[in-house]
Assembly symmetry: C2
Homo-oligomer: 215 residues x 2
């Protein structure tokens, strides 16, 4: 089995919640590094990455460009045409590794879901993609569990902090600096990001660099 | 194998970062409900729970009362006396289940660690407890990895969001309401806590109840 892995990706002005630390250029480079880490993990797990991007971008990877701003609608157009078991994995999961992805695609049930922090959905694996549809807004994890149930699909929830940890906010960078081992962690270090402990809690500071002006 | 599971627990005035939502009595009841959930998971995984508490409290569970305020020092007194493989699991992990705990105690290495969010350590399993010591302050995960290395102990990092998710702050309650299935989730619901979506992100609100005065 060599499932396709669809990776939704936004090359232009991504991760705006990190604007407190990084310029737009830096956020775009970081997002691209995280995508590279995700793609490496996907290849290590013997899946075939397919980028589902809002714009064409410079890369050798197979890309599907979506003009529609609605991610769910775009994926729901792709899924019924998918030839065989399909994984959907977010591009902002730089802690992803092959072990975690293998646990997802080895499910014995009809599908598997990995919840993201705060009620989101970070990964979905569907053996028969035509039987499922996605709905990514709001608390999508509970919605996806309900869609699976209504479609009569058995669903395993995969217990992985590596796939649970999406990088959206400054606090999330702590996890990347502690547990990351790929390009995005190295890029954070190049930017001067370091771990600090404030009042007993871990945080991230950017050394020797003023915060960029608000966009 | 039936390892002992040491569970550090603070019965009096716990979880002060939840004071924005709950009174001291409510926080004590919630902490106790989370402990019950953890104990249930530990028993389901065929481990024997031993509470390591700062005060004696009303319970049938085996308790070790520590007078020392320093958790690390107390555990480091207990570990060399432990008879066989020992698990240390925090009491504020109400998403813990037997599957996740089994993955920890089944490690083929000398020990296993589960990182908590923000650089903490939520679970440690040590086959030969006399060879390890704990140091829980600051970014303890990296410290524990280093202590293991210096002691020549091979260590597996267990990838579990259920054991990664400690309940400390209001945002963490989202995870408990979405993924919890035990007493602490039911208690949150009794208190009127509900999931809400604000600006596309999940949050928790307490219905029909004013916030308690600041302690």
């Amino acid at each position: 089995m060599c499932p396709h892995a669809l990776i939704p990706y936004k090359p232009a002005n991504p991760k705006t919640r990190l604007s407190c630390l990084f310029s737009q250029d830096e956020r775009e480079t970081l997002a691209c590094a995280m995508l590279d880490d995700v793609v490496d993990a996907i290849k290590d797990a013997n899946c075939t990455p397919v980028i589902v991007a809002t714009d064409l971008f410079d890369s050798d990877l197979v890309q599907v460009t979506i003009t529609d701003a609605d991610l769910s609608q775009s994926l729901n157009t792709i899924l019924p045409q998918a030839a065989g078991p399909t994984l959907i994995l977010m591009a902002d999961l730089p802690l992803a590794n092959a072990d975690a992805i293998r646990r997802v695609i080895k499910t014995e049930r009809d599908m598997a879901i990995v919840p993201g922090r705060g009620g989101g959905t970070n990964a979905i694996f569907i053996k028969d993609p035509a039987r499922f549809h996605v709905d990514y807004y709001g608390m999508s994890f509970l919605k996806h569990m309900k869609i699976a149930e209504e479609a009569g699909l058995s669903c395993e929830v995969i217990d992985s902090f590596r796939l649970h940890t999406d990088i959206d906010e400054k606090e999330d960078l702590v996890e990347l600096l502690i547990h990351g081992a790929g390009k995005s962690r190295r890029y954070l270090e190049e930017l001067g990001c370091v771990l600090v402990v404030e009042k007993g809690r871990a945080g991230v500071e950017r050394k020797n660099h003023p915060a960029p002006a608000a966009p």
